[in-house]
């Protein structure tokens, strides 16, 4: 896969279609794949990496990059294309400045799961015959793919690329029975006290590092209300339980109807807070109350909070147990 992508990127750089490439390179650790812009063929050959640790959604970087000189090539996994499309709908990305190569994806590996299995000194990963071959400084280890697949990929909503200029690999379909709302339903079935306890347990770990906000393609405001001293609600650190709740409720509300459920927020959370469960709650509610809506699927669709019907349900009706 990496060879094919690198080859195609070099071709496009060479024929002048694009003047730079947005992809991944190795970050702090060998398993920590970080988004990177490559400006030359040499740079690309030197640093470009693609493997099953490349989970990062590159679409958000295009807000800035698509406004630069010339065209940029980007590699987007199916779920990333939804974010890309949503940003197009929000006029954040200049489509004409981006060349999108859709790449097939069957789920990414979660390094935390590998670590939890006792693997250490990880240096690389390869998919072979439906199994992960994890390279470590202590030699290769073979792991069942499903054991190491990231949670968000286990409930993948779509393997379809909703936007691309060309594809490498196969285009898939929307996954109808992805069961992504299972955990939300489980929480809904709890008593309010149990839910409160659950969320206190999760959100109290929040250290307000803002990683969730910084990685989120929907959280791409010029300046966040929580950073703006003039907004009246600025808060830089979640000092107490109220502020933890406030930040995460408002963040979820601000991305409601715009969140494509890419799952980046939970992936990057250093405290492993399942933040996607907040967004998914809104998605589930909107689907149930206002009809199925997938942000990013159709850039011309009217988002649920940008429209209404006369017979909408009443707020007091309640949805959970």
């Amino acid at each position: 896969m990496q060879e094919m992508m690198e080859k195609r990127a070099l071709e496009l750089l060479a024929d002048g279609t694009v003047n730079r490439v947005l992809g991944w390179s190795v970050g702090e650790f060998p398993y920590d794949m970080t988004p990177a812009v490559f400006r030359s063929a040499e740079d690309l050959k030197d640093r470009f990496v693609y493997n099953d640790f490349c989970g990062a959604n590159l679409s958000k970087y295009l807000i800035k990059e698509s406004k630069g000189e010339g065209k940029i090539l980007v590699f987007l996994k199916p779920c990333d294309t939804y974010s890309f499309n949503q940003l197009i709908a929000e006029h954040r990305i200049k489509r004409e400045n981006v060349y999108v190569i859709g790449i097939e994806c069957y789920g990414k590996a979660d390094v935390e799961k590998l670590k939890a299995m006792g693997l250490s000194g990880i240096t690389g990963i390869q998919m072979k015959n439906g199994e992960y071959v994890v390279e470590t400084v202590y030699g290769n280890k073979t792991v069942k793919a499903s054991d190491a697949t990231a949670e968000r990929c286990l409930s993948c909503k779509s393997k379809k690329h909703v936007v691309f200029d060309e594809l490498i690999g196969e285009d898939g379909d929307v996954v109808e029975d992805c069961n992504r709302f299972d955990m939300v339903e489980k929480l809904e079935a709890m008593t309010p006290d149990e839910r409160f306890a659950f969320w206190r347990g999760e959100l109290s770990r929040c250290i307000r590092c803002n990683a969730c906000r910084n990685v989120c393609p929907a959280c791409s405001c010029e300046q966040c209300v929580f950073d703006n001293p003039n907004s009246g609600v600025a808060q830089k650190a979640a000092v107490n339980s109220f502020e933890e709740n406030m930040f995460h409720i408002i963040r979820a509300f601000h991305v409601a109807g715009r969140c494509t459920d890419c799952g980046e927020c939970s992936r990057v959370c250093p405290q492993h807070i399942p933040l996607h469960l907040l967004n998914r709650k809104f998605i589930k509610d909107m689907n149930e109350f206002y009809g199925e809506y997938q942000a990013g699927a159709d850039p011309d669709a009217r988002p649920p909070l940008g429209t209404y019907t006369k017979g909408d349900r009443e707020p007091n009706e309640g949805g959970n147990k």
Binding site: E90, H91, S220, C221, E222, G232, H254, G306
Partner: protein
């Protein structure tokens, strides 16, 4: 730091009876920024206002809080008083301690505490108030009337009379509307054409009035004083400027099998036609659905016979843009489709007709040249049965009918019954009614004449079913007063079908952002006090589009509507509400969330250059609000994730300051 003055009104004993006003003045006097605090018997009185003005002068106040009655009552009074002393009127806030405190709480301690808290909230808000300037926008001194029936014609004539330009947009080839189809009018029985057509001619000849017939409104942009309207002038295939209306083409056209809509499809017209003799503009129109030349390219007779050379088979629809200061909806009505009423046999029995069809059957210019003949065999009917309330006064859930009373049916049925009895005294006329409703000048007298003088049989009860019985119609009905079931062999059955707003009204309302009720009648700004205005500024309502009306009522409302339009057009500038949304371009993402929830289309986007780091420039898409269009609802402020959109006079910080003060 503001220098705030606080004024507590006793409102006689209305407030002072329950609230310890002295304690409130004392407590609020200690609030930060408050440099003066007092109470007075009646703040709204002349001396009360003088007291406030003196305090503003002497204490150099920059903000004012009045603890008094509802701001809905005297906010304007106090703002005006403050502005006379040079304070911006929007630096005044009211704490409502009458309706929200003294009138609902009996315990003085409790009421006083609450009054102090509400006062604090108002003070907290004033601290953050900014002087606001009401903007002004120019007024295009021309009105648009949508619909050229009697309502639209009357409104246009009255506006023109006042010296302003008016355009009438009418979707059919001629103005005149439903009234042109009527035979006689109640309660005077004068002929509809005799009183309508002079008005049509007036409208056609008036220099101030421009008629766009066979045209439709396609898009409306802008706001009161400055509407920009796209009008589609549908292709007539006849050059309006050349056609003399001689009618030769309409006689020679070989395609004569087109149902004549003017006569409710009861006879035929040609493919090129003038709807009726007195049409305005009197110009021929080619019906593209039937014209053989347009369909097959073979014919061209009309072109050959036209001496003026007006026929133009290549004519295209044309979209023109016109500017207006005010828009009048006069979209009118249609009778509902009676086909759904199986029990009355409308769809199956040719001799069951609607009242509007009867109008044509009795009209000298109608399909029978004014002789009342049954559609099935052109024989004189000897027994005529009228059924009232067909489709009116049904339950909300009824799919066939309407929940409202159509208002005009009782009177026109009395008219029909009377006219038939007068012309054909040998005819038996039965009217089945639920109630006879005749409020109106000379209306009940008219109905009584039908009964007493003309011998029309009014029967309290309803018709249950109508079936074909040989050449006749078998009418089964109830006579509730006699407790009988009647079986009448009738020659003609006339259904007084309910009226409903024209089908195009809904899309027009959407374009105008004017609200409608569930029956698709336009909503008025206030049902009693502002009955000819839509809640949307600059949109006015004339005629049945607002609710069922007869002709006298329609004409009075049309004139009332014109007066309101003239009120707008007579102004050179309109002042706008300054409490409108404002976009902070530094924070705006340009994501269009706000635009999607704006009911007025007040938000637009443009690419603007911003300074980036290291002397670079960045181009960003940012929102801006047209303050003349924005009405200040604030929907955008919540849709905006970055907080770039805020509402002047009700800013995020102001409201949160109130929240903080109240929850303290």
């Amino acid at each position: 730091m503001q220098r705030i003055g606080v004024f507590i009104c006793h409102c006689g004993t209305n407030i002072a009876g329950t609230v310890d006003v002295k304690a409130v003045a004392e407590a609020l006097g200690h609030e930060a920024g408050v440099v003066f605090s007092t109470e007075y018997q009646y703040m709204c009185s002349e001396s009360g206002q003088q007291l406030m003005r003196k305090a503003i002068r002497e204490h150099k106040l920059t903000g004012v809080v009045v603890c008094s009655c509802s701001p809905r009552m005297h906010e304007a009074t106090f703002r005006k008083a403050a502005s006379l002393e040079g304070i911006n009127p929007y630096m005044v806030e009211i704490a409502n301690i009458r309706e929200h405190v003294s009138w609902i709480h009996k315990d003085m301690k409790e009421a006083t505490e609450k009054a102090i808290i509400l006062g604090r909230a108002a003070i907290a808000k004033v601290h953050l108030n900014q002087p606001l300037q009401a903007g002004e926008s120019p007024v295009t001194k021309r009105a648009l009337v949508i619909g050229g029936g009697i309502a639209g014609i009357q409104t246009a004539l009255d506006i023109a009379e006042a010296g302003f330009e008016v355009d009438i947009v009418e979707k059919s080839p001629t103005i005149g509307g439903k009234m042109a189809q009527l035979d006689k009018t109640f309660p005077t029985l004068d002929c509809a054409a005799c009183i309508l057509t002079p008005k049509m001619v007036d409208a056609g000849q008036n220099e101030k009035i421009k008629i766009f017939a066979y045209s439709e409104v396609e898009a409306v942009k802008g706001y009161v004083g400055n509407f920009n309207v796209s009008i589609r002038r549908k292709a007539r295939y006849v050059d309006e400027t050349k056609c003399t209306g001689c009618g030769l083409c309409t006689e020679k056209c070989p395609q004569k099998k087109v149902p004549n809509e003017f006569n409710m499809g009861m006879n035929n017209r040609h493919a090129i036609y003038i709807p009726f003799a007195q049409a305005v503009p009197k110009v021929a129109t080619i019906d593209a659905d039937y014209c053989m030349m347009l369909k097959t390219g073979k014919c061209g007779i009309c072109s050959k016979v036209c001496g003026a050379g007006a026929i133009d088979y290549k004519q295209q629809d044309e979209v023109i843009e016109r500017q207006y200061g005010a828009i009048v909806a006069a979209t009118g009505f249609n009778p509902i489709d009676a086909k759904a009423y199986n029990e009355y046999g409308y769809a199956t029995c040719p001799d069951v007709v609607t009242s509007l069809e009867l109008e044509r059957l009795m009209n000298a210019a109608g399909p029978t040249n004014g002789t009342l003949l049954r559609p099935s065999d052109n024989e004189h009917p000897h027994t005529v049965v009228f059924v009232q309330c067909v489709g009116s006064r049904c339950t909300e859930t009824d799919e066939r009918g309407k929940p409202y009373c159509s208002k005009i049916c009782c009177m026109y049925t009395a008219k029909h019954a009377m006219l038939i009895r007068e012309k054909y005294p040998d005819t038996d006329v039965y009217v089945f009614y639920i109630d006879v409703r005749t409020p109106g000048k000379n209306f009940d007298e008219f109905y009584r004449r039908a009964v007493e003088q003309y011998g029309v049989h009014y029967i309290k009860g309803m018709v249950g079913k109508v079936t074909q019985n040989g050449k006749q119609l078998r009418v089964q009905a109830s006579d509730l007063l006699a407790g009988e079931q009647l079986h009448i062999d009738a020659d003609l059955v006339v259904l007084a079908t309910a009226i409903e707003p024209d089908k195009t009204a809904r899309s027009i309302a959407t374009m105008l952002t004017a609200s409608m009720d569930t029956n698709d009648f336009f909503t008025e700004a206030h049902p009693k006090l502002r009955p000819v205005e839509s809640p949307t500024a600059g949109i006015f309502l004339s005629g049945v589009c607002q609710g069922p009306k007869d002709i006298p009522e329609t004409v009075s409302q049309a004139s009332a509507c014109a007066a309101k339009v003239i009120g707008v057009l007579a102004k050179d500038k309109l002042t706008c509400n300054p409490c409108v949304a404002q976009s902070d371009e530094m924070l705006c993402n340009g994501c269009s969330s706000c635009e999607k929830v704006c009911p007025y289309g007040a938000i637009s986007y443009s690419d603007k250059e911003f300074r980036g780091p290291n002397r670079t420039t960045l181009i960003r898409r940012v929102a801006s609000v047209n303050p003349a269009v924005c009405q200040g609802c604030g929907a955008c402020t919540v849709a905006c994730p970055s907080g770039a959109m805020d509402l002047k006079g009700f800013s995020n910080k102001q409201i949160m300051a109130e929240v903080d003060a109240i929850c303290q």
